[in-house]
């Protein structure tokens, strides 16, 4: 395929991306765009440093490889370096999705769906809204000087309503998304859209500011999923640990880091936004048990971090698109379900807060979640709606404060957003979890 430079490791990732974006905003057509883009990222390693070049000139990749190689220092031993040794050699064509069907959904059908969903918005309290359709099909080709040759696809469809409700002199943003791997999976969700809109309107009409304080909180599955992602998922990305003795000691495998019922897993073979059959350096998707029964049991790796920590690659080297190099990123991350019924999760709480859905979350040593809808819990039952700016907690303490996990479990993906790390945002990811009861959460 390419003439790889001698005494250097080289790989080339070519991405062909087909997307559609249709937006109707307050009855005005704002966008109806279908496009196909192609670009590539070249990586060269000389045993000391990586060199990358992002290019949209896919017909001139050989020239780009040769030019980039001039920056590196040829190294006869490069293929024996620990990093290159960790890189998997895989050859496979893995076209899981029906690319023809993707191309065959007519723009008129997509537009009809956007208009239909727009017609579901008829409440006078909704002042501003968007009905948004997005689909995305990515075909990736990956070649390396070690011998990898991969050809695979990922695909997603999304239909989203975004709206701003005005009531009692205040505005409140609401949304509901449906994701799928086929166009048909977006159809027939009217009841869900209507239910969410009604809930949001009721919420903003009646929500009062919460009395700030420390509460026991129940998180809905989507919130639990974001908590898992933000609070611990990022800490399992091992590029933060490389060469750092303190971090390695703190995150030593086998150490207890949470309550005995807590297990967190990351896997790239889930369908949804975290589907990554091969990562962006050609490693096949794997399942990583990050926490097992409260014990730290694994972490996420690229070849470089696996080599540095003498562990195995996990299929988590991911880039936002061809313009970026892969970093260690999550794929589909979730807290495993427990045994309790949803009622049992709520039952022991005399006064607490239920977080039903969120606007955003973040996590360092302290995690934060900004709820979109929150309710008081009184005597084990969901009670009046409350306005909450943020809930916060110390990650390492909170993992021990998990009191209950429901057997009910939900897996989700954000249709239009994704995960951010440094300059790369948004990267599609999936997440999930059960209903989760946690004590000692600071609610503001």
């Amino acid at each position: 395929m390419f003439n790889y430079p001698k005494n250097l490791y080289t790989d080339v990732r070519i991405e062909t991306v087909m997307t559609t974006n249709i937006v109707i905003e307050n009855d005005q057509l704002k966008a109806n765009k279908s496009k196909r883009e192609k670009g590539a990222l070249i990586r060269i390693y000389d045993g000391r440093r990586w060199y990358y070049k992002a290019s949209s000139e896919v017909e001139k990749l050989q020239e780009a490889i040769d030019e980039l190689a001039l920056m590196a220092e040829p190294n006869e031993q490069v293929m024996d370096t620990p990093v290159v040794k960790k890189l998997e050699v895989n050859k496979e064509t893995l076209m899981v999705f029906d690319g023809e069907a993707f191309l065959n959904v007519a723009n008129e059908e997509k537009m009809a769906l956007v208009k239909h969903c727009a017609s579901l918005i008829d409440a006078e309290e909704i002042k501003m809204w968007q009905s948004i359709y997005q689909d995305r099909r990515i075909v990736k080709d990956f070649y390396s000087s070690k011998g990898s040759e991969l050809h695979f696809d990922t695909q997603s469809y999304a239909m989203c309503l975004r709206y701003v409700i005005e009531a009692n002199g205040q505005s409140h943003g609401g949304s509901y998304d449906v994701m799928g791997q086929t166009f048909d999976q977006l159809l027939n969700h009217d009841d869900e859209y209507k239910r969410e809109i009604e809930k949001d309107i009721e919420y903003i009409k009646h929500a009062v500011p919460v009395k700030p304080g420390m509460y026991t909180v129940v998180m809905a599955p989507s919130v639990t999923g974001v908590f898992a992602h933000e609070s611990f998922g990022h800490k399992s990305e091992s590029d933060f640990m490389v060469g750092d003795e303190t971090m390695l000691k703190e995150w030593e495998l086998g150490r207890q880091v949470g309550c005995a019922d807590l297990s967190i897993e990351d896997r790239g073979d889930w369908f949804g936004n975290g589907y990554v059959p091969y990562d962006d350096e050609g490693t096949k998707a794997k399942s990583t048990q990050i926490i097992t029964d409260g014990i730290l049991s694994g972490r996420l790796h690229s070849a470089a971090t696996a080599a540095a920590l003498n562990e195995e690659v996990s299929g988590n080297a991911r880039a936002m698109n061809f313009q970026f190099e892969p970093l260690v990123r999550m794929t589909g991350t979730y807290i495993k379900p427990g045994k309790e019924t949803i009622e049992e999760v709520f039952a022991p709480i005399r006064e607490g807060v239920y977080i039903e859905c969120i606007n955003h979350g973040s996590g360092m040593s302290t995690f934060t979640i900004a709820p979109r809808r929150a309710y008081m819990i009184r005597d084990g039952k969901i009670a009046e709606p409350v306005q909450v700016s943020v809930i916060t907690g110390n990650v390492m303490e909170t993992l021990y404060h998990i009191e209950a996990l429901s057997a009910h479990f939900e897996a989700l993906s954000f249709a239009l957003g994704g995960c951010g790390k440094m300059e790369q945002w948004p990267l599609p990811v999936a997440f999930g979890g059960p209903y989760m009861r946690v004590s000692g959460i600071n609610v503001q």
Partner: protein
């Protein structure tokens, strides 16, 4: 009528791992959007990389069939070129500079680990059309985002050297590094009575989002009934600006609307304007501020323009007036409620007397109503750049210790 909107990005990105230069990324991407105006519709298409204008316009004409309404005139007969670039950098020199800097850091600050990025970016945006318009804005900037952690810390990172500069300014990088590391080396107690010093955007997100012409026009803004009213402190003025001293603020927007001078949104505490594109201005009867945005191949839509505060002609030291100041370095996860109550945890902050960094503080939370933070609790916007190579907002807020 044909119009072309081109964005060319050249970038070198230097990644630091464990206080060593780990990788170099080169990027040279050209994106061209093609637009056909016809019968109050706009047809658009785009080409990534090299391509023929003929094909781009052919596809844009084809896309007129999608009937996206756009009953607005293109910008006519204006030619203006602004080139704010000066240095032509070569990667070899930049690698040498950063290796020398990192070598110094390893010697001077051995108890800290440096990581993440220093980027050098040159962007040229060009809008040309058959009505005689040619607008070109070229700019360049160094963006440092160097994460810092103590070798004994179990956190992913604690603090960061974050700033942007129009020149490849290694002296500034060293000055910023010294200021941050001086603060990081000493632990300080959280004072009970101190003034918050921060990037102005942190507590102002709600103000920014609710000054959108759409939010005002559709009556979802917190300020929907407050146009023309004195809402905030007379010391507080918020401007849409593309002045030469602003980084990456082209003098024209995605529709080719030119901003000749600073445009106040909030003038001495009074809300006087909202930001708009052509559509929003016409629909709601506002002045068009030139805030159209979008990808290179989109129909332009309302975005958020470059905004800044009007400095108050006082240095940080003068704004503190003898009080201690708390410089917020890292604060993620905060939000503002629909009623305008802002709260955020502050993960990392430095204590200062307005000149020196006196130490770093334990985690805490700040909160307050935006009407107070930019009203009775507003102190000013500094004229000097004590840290982050930017002016600092000085406000009073409720400070609450965490944990």
């Amino acid at each position: 009528m044909k119009e072309k909107y081109k964005i060319k990005t050249e970038e070198y990105s230097f990644n630091i791992v464990q206080s060593q230069l780990e990788s170099v990324r080169c990027k040279n991407i050209e994106k061209t959007g093609y637009r056909i105006y016809e019968n109050n519709f706009l047809g658009v298409s785009g080409i990534l990389g090299e391509g023929s204008d003929e094909e781009g316009y052919r596809q844009a004409r084809e896309n007129l069939k999608l009937q996206i309404p756009y009953p607005f005139e293109p910008t006519k007969g204006i030619k203006k070129i602004r080139d704010l670039t000066s240095e032509k950098m070569n990667p070899k020199q930049m690698i040498e500079d950063l290796e020398a800097y990192l070598s110094e850091c390893r010697q001077l600050y051995p108890e800290f680990i440096f990581s993440n990025k220093v980027n050098w970016t040159v962007i040229t945006i060009e809008l040309t059309n058959e009505s005689g318009t040619q607008l070109i804005n070229s700019d360049q900037y160094l963006a440092a985002s160097i994460l810092l952690k103590h070798v004994d810390s179990a956190d992913i990172f604690e603090s960061a050297i974050e700033f942007a500069s129009r020149s490849w300014d290694m002296a500034l990088l060293r000055k910023e590094t010294k200021a941050m590391l001086t603060g990081m080396r000493t632990a300080a107690d959280l004072p009970e009575d101190a003034i918050i010093l921060t990037n102005w955007g942190l507590p102002a997100q709600k103000i920014i989002s609710d000054l959108s012409g759409k939010a005002m026009g559709y009556q979802t803004s917190l300020f929907k009934d407050k146009m023309g009213e004195q809402v905030f402190s007379p010391e507080f003025s918020l401007l849409q600006t593309s002045a030469d001293n602003q980084l990456m603020a082209p003098f024209f927007d995605a529709e080719g609307t030119i901003q000749e001078k600073d445009m106040p949104m909030i003038d001495q505490g009074r809300i006087v304007r909202c930001y708009t594109d052509k559509q929003c201005a016409e629909q709601f009867g506002y002045e068009c501020s030139g805030a159209a945005d979008g990808n290179y191949d989109d129909v332009p839509t309302l975005g958020c323009p470059n905004l800044d505060l009007r400095p108050n002609n006082k240095t940080v030291k003068e704004l503190l007036a003898g009080h201690l100041g708390i410089i917020i370095v890292a604060a993620s996860g905060g939000d503002t409620s629909p009623a305008g109550n802002f709260a955020t945890p502050v993960q990392y902050a430095l204590l200062t007397d307005g000149e020196r960094m006196l130490g770093h503080l334990p985690e805490f939370q700040i909160s307050g109503s935006i009407y107070d933070l930019f009203g009775k609790d507003y102190i000013g916007y500094s004229s000097d750049k004590l840290i982050f190579n930017q002016n600092l907002l000085a406000i009073r807020a409720k400070i609450q210790k965490l944990n």
